[in-house]
């Protein structure tokens, strides 16, 4: 009856928030403290700073080429063949990445709650739900993100508030860590910038921006989303390190999950909060994987000139599923995530930067004021 609505700034912001708050932040304190012990907060800030740069590049590109998708304008900038090749790289990269984070999530479920349930079922159930959700148009998917936003934000804030009383500020000091060199921080920062949620957060912009109400909305939404989720990630990290200390945060695979086990509600209603939080983690994993899956099928549909991303909803399923089932065990998986994530920096940071430069040189797209 009416023209399809378009995505607003707040919906963009919430979509980015939901995509970034995912299963990866459960393991973030471990990886950050592995690199620079008590300098974990600082190294995360560096990593997220790198992410914000990446987001800025993507936003500038989106502003220069409003209402065109990433694949379309890269075709305009560097030609058909080269952009197709890079598009293929993006596709393969995200298929691997989404498969791996689905697997990581399933590992977590399986190690805490479902030791006897086969991995295929845990992975498959999540991927099927995600695939069904991507049958909707982009605007509806942004509604979905919008709706789930408070369900992720409020429990996370609650967790921070509840854990705050156990924080020992001595654990977080010294901010620079003990005996760290500059290159340690750079290394750590790059590792954090190579986290799956960073890639998904940045690349989600390529899906949302062509559908936003105006390029201004996209800029405002993406910057706010990036800043807000960075703030929350840093806060949760601070709380986790503050409670455990950097030495202890290294040992569990998902320190934040252990934290949810420790916190208790003031009143004796539920014995353990972690299972309740599990619901939240399932939701956060769903929103993250949904965004990632959307990136895959949207990029795919643009790359192969399909009418709509919906066509690929079920076709991409076996590919992602295959990627998810590939790692042999959890350590293999973590290795792969780090490896793929670091290579992915080329795709999500350097490639857009390269595009932006070429576009500036060749004076393609809308010229900025």
């Amino acid at each position: 009856m009416r023209e399809p609505r378009q995505i607003t700034a707040s919906q963009t912001m919430m979509s980015i928030f939901n995509s970034m708050i995912g299963i990866s932040i459960l393991g973030l304190p471990r990886i950050a403290s592995e690199h620079v012990n008590s300098g974990a907060v600082l190294v995360t800030i560096i990593g997220l700073g790198i992410m914000m740069i990446g987001m800025g590049i993507m936003t500038l590109l989106g502003y220069r080429f409003p209402k065109t998708s990433f694949i379309q304008f890269s075709k305009q900038i560097i030609g058909k063949k080269l952009s197709f090749l890079f598009g293929l790289f993006i596709l393969v990269f995200f298929i691997l990445l989404i498969g791996f984070i689905t697997r990581e999530f399933s590992f977590m479920l399986s190690s805490f709650l479902y030791p006897d349930t086969p991995m295929i079922v845990l992975v498959g159930a999540m991927l099927i739900i995600v695939a069904i959700a991507t049958r909707n148009d982009i605007t509806t998917i942004s509604y979905i993100h919008f709706f789930y936003f408070p369900f992720l934000l409020i429990p996370l804030l609650l967790l921070i508030v509840l854990a705050l009383e156990n924080v020992d500020i001595r654990y977080v000091k010294p901010f620079l860590g003990n005996g760290n060199t500059f290159s340690d921080f750079l290394q750590g920062g790059l590792t954090i910038a190579a986290f799956p949620f960073v890639h998904i957060g940045i690349f989600l912009l390529t899906v949302l921006t062509p559908h936003t109400h105006s390029p201004k909305n996209a800029i405002r939404g993406s910057l706010l989303g990036g800043l807000f989720s960075s703030l929350l990630i840093i806060l949760t990290l601070f709380v986790t390190i503050g409670v455990f200390g950097s030495m202890e945060a290294k040992s569990p695979l998902w320190p934040l999950y252990v934290l949810t086990r420790m916190v208790q509600l003031p009143l004796e209603l539920l014995e353990r909060l972690d299972i309740l939080f599990l619901g939240i983690w399932v939701l956060s994993a769903f929103t993250t994987i949904l965004s990632g899956y959307l990136i895959i099928i949207y990029t795919g549909s643009q790359l192969f000139n399909l009418k709509s991303h919906r066509v690929l909803s079920y076709i991409a399923l076996p590919l992602v599923f295959g990627a998810a089932m590939y790692p042999q065990n959890i350590f293999h998986l973590f290795e792969l995530i780090e490896l793929v994530g670091k290579w992915g920096l080329i795709i999500t940071m350097i490639y857009p930067l390269f595009l932006l430069f070429i576009a500036l040189i060749r004076k393609k797209g809308k010229v900025m004021k």
Binding site: R5, I275, G279
Partner: protein, 538 residues
């Protein structure tokens, strides 16, 4: 070859038979009634050869002119015919020979208000079948149709499905004309539009579309008309038939068209910019587009105090979520995560379940099924048997099953709470949708525990979020959010603050209240007034 021929032959002959079968096809579409008086009468008689209730009365009017009256005795008011048609025709004589006979009959003689003329046979037949009396007079080529329809109808009563404590007591009935009068009486402005059309090849039911010309978005009206236009079915026996044809997603368990029996609800929605559809023969009006939150609003919410009604609205929403999730959460806790609840409670549950032979999923599923059977049985039962049934239900399903060790007492409590919770929905169709989804959630939880429950809920939520009714997102004003709309969703703010009509409907005139700030608290009997009066006295 011969088989082929036979097939061909039988095919053609059967189609010929079919053609001969229906009377309406015998009447050629544009066949005119013969002008010759006896032939014309014969022509009509032929159509209704053996009808038991088809009546013919021959008269001689104005002294010397032959005339015939025909009607279906089952459809007409005979008193009307004798008083308003036959009596004047017989008593009057022609005094003025200047004007033609037809004019004399129509303008000077007949007392009845609703008089029409027809020349085509199809129109005449149709008119007869709709309760008209036809008058054929020798020398007048046209046939005069007089609407003498009289059908038995029940009186206006309080609707049984949407009862209110404070609010109007009248409800729609089966007669469309009465229903229109109920609406017109409440909206006495020319902008209130009623469009009518006939749907149903055989039942030819009259369907009316109501809207406010100065409020409703014209493209919504257009879309409703377009969707109704497409319907090609032999019958429309209730507005539910239409609902199923015009809704956006027929597979969804959620109703996308609101229905009501209450004229005040219909008027309220008309004034918000929605479109109301009614069918002759059904007391239930359809309101489109329907959004989720509409099904949790009752007309009483606007008549009572706001804060109290807001709490009640939240109770309704809470109870539906509660009744949807409780059984599956119980299953998840008992069979997958018993460590979630405090130890003392968990011991109590386990001891209660000690003798139960089934896993929790089966137990809950069986109890839910028993509850549904009980409920379905009580709905269809005659009232006299209903009491006995409920006793059997309570005693056998509740008490005896626990005593026999089939189910644990806590399961019974959970199911009972769930069932009561599902009754708190003001709309029956929405409650039904959630009833079904409860089983779905029990199933997913049975397979995957809490993970399955969350995934099931995500699936339901995603469906709700993607659902649209006539282009309006089903969950608006919650998602996409609009603050103005939220004032009348989970809560209901005072009417004087509900300034705008719902934003998602893109109405022509969004102003509901024109002077939102002009309700100052005055104190007519306060001290100031008294001093004024004293001064005046002096």
């Amino acid at each position: 070859m011969s088989i082929w021929n036979r097939f061909k032959k039988s095919h053609t002959s059967s189609s010929e038979n079919k053609k001969a079968e229906t009377i309406s096809e015998k009447i050629v579409v544009n066949e005119m009634l013969k002008t010759d008086y006896p032939t014309a009468i014969h022509q009509i008689q032929q159509v209704f050869e053996d009808e038991a209730d088809f009546a013919i009365r021959e008269l001689v009017v104005f002294g010397n002119i032959n005339a015939t009256i025909m009607y279906f005795s089952s459809l007409v008011d005979k008193k009307d015919i004798s008083e308003d048609i036959i009596k004047p025709l017989l008593i009057n004589t022609i005094s003025n020979h200047e004007i033609s006979l037809k004019e004399v009959v129509i303008r000077q003689t007949l007392y009845h208000a609703d008089v029409q003329q027809a020349v085509q046979l199809a129109d005449i037949v149709n008119g007869l079948l709709r309760g008209n009396t036809i008058l054929i007079i020798e020398g007048i080529p046209e046939v005069i149709l007089i609407n003498t329809k009289k059908l038995e109808k029940r009186s206006i009563a309080q609707p049984e499905t949407e009862q209110v404590i404070r609010g109007p007591r009248d409800g729609f009935i089966e007669s469309l004309e009465t229903n229109i009068s109920l609406l017109r009486d409440r909206i006495p402005v020319p902008e209130f539009k009623v469009k009518s059309k006939q749907i149903g090849r055989i039942t030819k039911s009259t369907v009316c579309i109501f809207y406010m010309e100065n409020i409703t978005n014209p493209s919504l009206v257009e879309d409703v008309e377009k969707r109704l236009e497409r319907i090609d079915i032999d019958r429309v026996l209730d507005s539910g038939y239409l609902e199923q044809f015009i809704q956006d997603n027929p597979r969804s368990p959620f109703p996308q068209v609101k229905n009501t029996e209450r004229p005040d609800v219909a008027v309220g929605n008309l004034l918000e910019g929605r479109v109301v559809i009614m069918v002759d023969g059904s007391p239930i009006a359809l309101i489109v587009p329907g959004t989720f939150i509409m099904f949790y609003q009752s007309s009483e919410d606007y008549n009572e105090r706001t804060n109290v009604m807001s709490v009640i609205r939240m109770t309704r929403i809470f109870s539906i979520i509660f009744s949807l999730v409780t059984p599956s959460t119980y299953v998840a806790i008992i069979s997958y995560h018993p460590e979630l609840i405090p130890t003392a409670f968990s011991v109590a549950i386990t001891s209660g379940r000690a003798g139960v032979p089934f896993p929790a999923v089966i137990e809950v599923f069986l109890m839910e099924a028993a509850m549904e059977i009980l409920r379905e049985a009580t709905v269809r039962m005659p009232k006299q048997v209903g009491g006995a049934l409920s006793i059997v239900g309570v005693l056998v399903v509740g008490q005896a099953a626990v005593m026999a060790g089939f189910v644990s007492p806590i399961t019974v409590v959970v199911i009972a709470i769930t069932t009561i919770g599902s009754f708190a929905t003001p709309t029956y169709s929405m409650a039904n949708g959630f009833r079904m989804l409860r089983f779905f959630l029990i199933f997913t939880t049975g397979v995957l525990g809490l993970y399955g429950l969350i995934l099931g809920l995500i699936l339901i939520m995603n469906h709700l979020l993607s659902l649209r009714s006539f282009g309006v997102p089903y969950l608006s004003p919650i998602s996409p959010m609009n603050w103005g709309g939220l004032r009348d969703s989970f809560i209901r703010v005072p009417l004087r603050w509900l300034i705008d009509r719902p934003e998602e409907l893109f109405v022509k005139n969004s102003q509901r209240i024109n002077n939102p700030k002009e309700y100052p608290t005055t104190n007519p009997l306060g001290p100031e007034r008294h001093t004024d009066m004293k001064e005046e006295d002096q």
